[in-house]
């Protein structure tokens, strides 16, 4: 696990520089996302992702946690522009130094699959029902590795075997409906890693599966990504899933990143009321609970512009400032002082407080009144 | 012509979320009238205008059967807006009165076939088991004929009258509706809220009528209304073949048949055909056929 000790390096420049400073280490991060915004135009305009920025290093495992509607899936699929036609994506996405947003469709197709692999949420609908499993795997091999015929089939069988499907060779001729949910997901994983991409996006890979299978799939993901030194963005709504697999976690709410920390810090020193509430709502065996705590209220209507912090209406720690100013994602040290009005947004930026999550960044939170470190998972904390 | 497919059942089954009791129905019925686009509005307007004109036939036109050989086969003039046919009858009047017959056929076919089909299919679906199996075999056998063929046969056997056309087409079409509603009933029957309703002490018949039927009906309503147009077309086809309305009764299909022998009197053949096309397409436009995909229509 990477160390988070020490102060962040402040990006050079004054306030004239772009508002966000991305962490830089000796090696350029593999992925750099800047001001990514996703809007859906259905009957009204919905802003699903609100200008988020982050970075990931090669081989890093990062978790992205949030409830449905938080924009987590949309933000991930937007990286390779896999969203439906009703979506508008803007911002910058750099992969290994290459800007993806300006690529043409055909150039982007190289990236899709070849450098970015995706594992989808619903293994039942994500496979083509009228093509054999073998076909669906070999077509990736043909596309990205130039394999054909027997060579491709042998490799497909090997891959299928590698993800834990028994009798792989015979199974190539099967159709998706003949596979169980877990096996289908394994197939999708095999398809995703076969071109040896540098990044794997796992969009709620276990949500649709039985609990017993979930653990297996997660373990599979972990070992495969470590083996191939792939970076992984693991998206989930379940905090339990990211423990042990990710090094860093980002928490999303209403299309924004509201907290970013190492996994350990997120569990032991949660610094955003929403994260704490998420922890609280996990059922626990070791504590007596008469009632499962839930978060009061409901997620905001993303069709309307939100004034102030989006979590404020449901937040037990809200203060006056929360209602009017949307807190930026800033280091926890500064956040703890930021409640007082002398910390204007301008000053926060100048002092290098506002940051985007990256491999070397410190614990960040978007809250004017973050909970003190003592109120963590271990203790109870009653929402008012 | 073509308004069926096995998939229709499957599509119909994907329908709206059921609602308890009857509040949902009313809201649905009202909501269904609001036109979504220009085309739907156009369709509704045309239907209203044409139906009104047809109903007001005595006020708008003269006698459709009155022959006047001295003006036979004249093209449209001020006296005869759409011209006259070979027997000197006013075509404008024949179109209006013929519209009555065509419409009559369309509406009654749907009424009869729809009622029989829905009752039959609902019972079959709800009772299930062997009874359902047998009832559906019968339906299958009926459906093994292309619809018009069966109607043709029945019409020929019973003799060409407007009554027989209606019966013939209704006999050919009721199995479609039976199958459709049976599929719906089966799906809804299995949904939990029916069990819940029974847990509350409602008896099976009450179950059927109060919960299952109203929800199945939502999808059926659209299909039935759209089918009125196709029933009119089917009726006109049979009349064209000489198996429908008997002369001198006017009807759009039979008028086209009469026009066959007089290819140079273009006004004779154009008027009924355009009338048919206008009316049926208006029904289709109003029903959203031009603005929605098949799926959308069936899950409205």
């Amino acid at each position: 696990m990477r160390s988070t000790a020490g102060n962040p390096q402040v990006a050079a420049g004054s306030a004239a520089v772009a508002a966000v400073s991305v962490q830089e280490t000796e090696a350029e991060p593999l992925i750099k996302v800047r001001d990514l915004t996703v809007e859906f135009r259905t009957q009204s305009l919905v802003r699903a992702v609100h200008g988020i920025s982050y970075a990931m290093a090669a081989g890093e495992h990062v978790g992205l946690v949030g409830e449905s509607g938080s924009g987590k899936s949309a933000s991930a699929l937007a990286l390779v522009r896999l969203l439906p036609r009703t979506a508008t994506v803007s911002g910058s996405v750099e992969l290994a130094g290459r800007e993806l947003m300006t690529l043409s469709e055909s150039e982007l197709r190289e990236v899709r699959g070849g450098q970015v692999g995706i594992v989808y949420q619903d293994p039942f609908s994500s496979l083509n029902p009228v093509l054999t499993i073998g076909r669906q795997i070999t077509e990736v091999l043909t596309r990205h590795k130039g394999m054909r015929g027997d060579e491709a089939r042998t490799e497909a069988a090997r891959l299928l075997d590698g993800v834990g499907v028994p009798n792989a060779v015979d199974r190539l001729a099967d159709y998706p409906h003949q596979f169980s949910g877990g096996m289908r997901q394994r197939t999708i994983i095999a398809m995703a890693i076969s071109p040896e991409p540098s990044v794997l996006i796992a969009d709620e890979p276990t949500t649709a599966l039985d609990v017993t299978v979930q653990a297996q799939i997660l373990e599979l993901l972990q070992s495969l990504t470590e083996q191939h030194h792939m970076a992984m963005l693991l998206i989930t709504h379940d905090l339990g899933v990211i423990a042990g697999i990710t090094q860093r976690v980002m928490v999303m709410y209403a299309g924004r990143i509201v907290e970013s920390a190492t996994t350990e810090d997120l569990f032991n020193r949660a610094s955003h009321p929403y994260t704490v509430a998420l922890h609280q709502s996990l059922p626990r065996i070791d504590k007596r609970q008469e009632r499962l705590p839930t978060i009061q209220g409901h997620p905001p209507d993303l069709r309307r512009a939100i004034r102030g912090c989006p979590f404020a209406p449901r937040c037990p720690r809200r203060i006056e400032r929360c209602k009017n100013e949307d807190p930026p994602l800033m280091s926890v040290e500064i956040a703890r002082q930021a409640a007082s009005p002398e910390w204007t947004l301008k000053r926060i930026k100048e002092e290098g407080g506002e940051q985007a999550p990256g491999p070397e960044s410190p614990h960040l939170t978007a809250c004017w009144n973050p909970p003190p470190p003592s109120s963590s998972v271990a203790d109870g904390w009653e929402p008012t | 012509m073509l308004s069926r497919s096995k998939r229709l059942e499957e599509l119909a089954v994907e329908g709206d979320e059921p609602t308890f009791g009857s509040e949902g129905r009313l809201a649905e019925a009202l909501g269904g009238i609001r036109p979504r686009t220009f085309l739907e509005a156009y369709g509704i307007v045309v239907i209203i205008l044409m139906t009104a004109a047809i109903l007001a036939a005595p006020l708008l036109a003269g006698d459709p059967i009155d022959q006047d050989l001295s003006v036979a086969l004249t093209n449209p003039t001020a006296d005869h807006w759409l011209g006259t046919d070979n027997l000197g009858r006013d075509i404008w009047a024949r179109i209006l009165y013929g519209g009555r017959n065509s419409l009559l056929i369309g509406v009654f076919v749907i009424l009869i076939a729809g009622t029989i089909g829905i009752v039959y299919g609902a019972i079959s679906g709800f009772v299930g088991g062997v009874v359902d199996g047998i009832m559906m075999r019968v339906v299958d056998i009926f459906l093994s004929f292309p619809a018009i063929m069966l109607a043709l046969l029945i019409s020929a056997a019973l003799g060409p009258k407007i009554r027989t056309v209606i019966i013939a087409i209704a006999v050919a079409w009721w199995p479609f509706y039976a199958r459709l509603i049976r599929g719906q009933v089966i799906v809804i029957k299995q949904r939990e809220y029916v069990t819940a309703s029974r847990a509350l002490g409602a008896g099976p018949m009450r179950n059927l009528f109060m919960t299952v039927l109203p929800n199945s009906f939502g999808v059926m309503k659209t299909i039935l209304i759209l089918d009125i147009g196709y029933a009119i077309l089917a009726g006109s086809t049979l009349s064209f073949l000489g198996l429908g309305v008997s002369l001198p009764t006017p009807e759009w299909g039979v008028m086209i048949r009469e026009a066959l022998q007089f290819p140079n009197a273009w006004w004779m053949v154009l008027s009924p055909g355009i009338a048919l096309m206008l009316f049926v397409s208006a029904m289709n436009f109003a029903g959203g056929v031009a603005t929605r995909s098949v799926h959308e229509i069936h899950s409205r």
Binding site: - | I141, L152, A157, L233, L260
Partner: protein, 342 residues
């Protein structure tokens, strides 16, 4: 999959039997005394003796003096021997008339079906690709009109213009008056012309087929196009197409190997039903263009209320329809693997 096909095939005789029953029942519904009606149109045989003798023969042959179930049995027996009754207009066995008349119609039907598929499927794909935009909206309006009009009327108007006024379409008959027909081997003019090496006859026949084939093919093609469009749109918005795109596959592959391959499945089922509509359309169109097929035959039979002929036509068409749907269902299992294991 074998079981499914077996079950399906086993159903066929049951269905055919049911069909004969229905046809039988309906023909018994004729409100007049059947014997008299049968005799009535053949001119009069005035002597009472003569009439009785004929009634005798009919009773023997069809068992009209026997109870209804026995009558059905006799009817069925006759059917299986190929006896479909005699036409009240031509006084000849209907079966003989049918043999002459079915092949030209089959030619028309297959040709029209091919046109419908070749025209309709790409059109549907195109409309789906342009969904929501101008071309798609135009398509939706045009196709709605196409399915709202009476085909027979369109045939009349079209024929009037294209043959009567412009002389593009060919006249009545499968061949021109002045073209000597090729020796009749298969009874299919197109095939026979090729077999005899008579290319002039071949192209002449094609010319004669052109108008009805295109008319029916285009109208039914519009219907196919709508379904294809609908299915394609659903496929293009599905998760598995998103996966395919996510794999970086080319647009071509995504469109055809993934989307269309799924979208086409309901079209297969539809072809079976389209066949039924096609035959219906053929019946009216043949008369208008003067094509000497089953449709023409049915049309005159309908006009003259020749019940035997009509019943025979309905039965034959029904049987063909059942067989076609059987083929279609088998094809469906090939196309959609999910069905095979039921």
């Amino acid at each position: 999959m074998g079981w499914y096909i077996l079950r399906r095939v086993a159903l066929v005789p049951v269905v055919l039997l049911g069909m004969t029953f229905i046809t039988f029942v309906v023909s018994q519904l004729v409100p007049v005394d059947p014997a008299a009606a049968y005799l009535g149109s053949r001119g009069s045989i005035t002597t009472e003796q003569g009439q009785n003798a004929i009634v005798e023969t009919l009773n023997e042959r069809w068992g009209w003096d026997k109870p209804i179930l026995e009558r059905y049995g006799i009817y069925l027996g006759n059917l299986l021997q190929g006896d479909l009754g005699d036409s009240s207009t031509s006084s000849r066995p209907v079966s003989r008339d049918l043999v002459k008349v079915v092949p030209p119609t089959l030619q028309l039907v297959f040709a029209s079906m091919s046109v419908a598929l070749l025209f309709g499927i790409p059109l549907g794909v195109f409309a789906a690709a342009k969904r929501g935009r101008y071309w798609d909206q135009l398509f939706m309006v045009a196709s709605t009109l196409a399915i709202s009009l009476p085909v027979f009327w369109l045939a009349i108007v079209g024929f009037n213009v294209l043959y009567g006024r412009l002389g593009w379409a060919a006249g009545p008959g499968q061949l021109d008056l002045f073209t000597t027909p090729p020796p009749s081997v298969t009874r299919f003019v197109l095939v026979d012309s090729i077999l005899a090496g008579r290319w002039d006859a071949f192209f002449d026949a094609l010319h004669h087929m052109a108008f009805p084939t295109l008319l029916l093919g285009l109208v039914i093609g519009f219907y196919f196009a709508r379904v294809v469009r609908s299915e394609m749109i659903e496929a293009l918005e599905s998760d598995y197409v998103r996966t395919a795109r996510g794999k970086g596959l080319s647009n071509w592959i995504v469109l055809y190997r993934h989307a269309l391959r799924n979208a086409i499945v309901p079209v297969i089922t539809l072809s079976g039903l389209a066949f039924g509509s096609l035959v219906t359309g053929v019946i009216v169109v043949e008369h208008i263009v003067g094509w000497p097929g089953l449709g023409q035959y049915a049309f005159s039979a309908a006009t003259r209320l020749d019940l035997n002929a009509i019943a025979a036509v309905v039965l034959v068409v029904g049987a063909i329809y059942v067989l076609t749907n059987l083929v279609v269902d088998v094809l469906y299992t090939v196309a959609d693997p999910r069905v095979r294991d039921r």
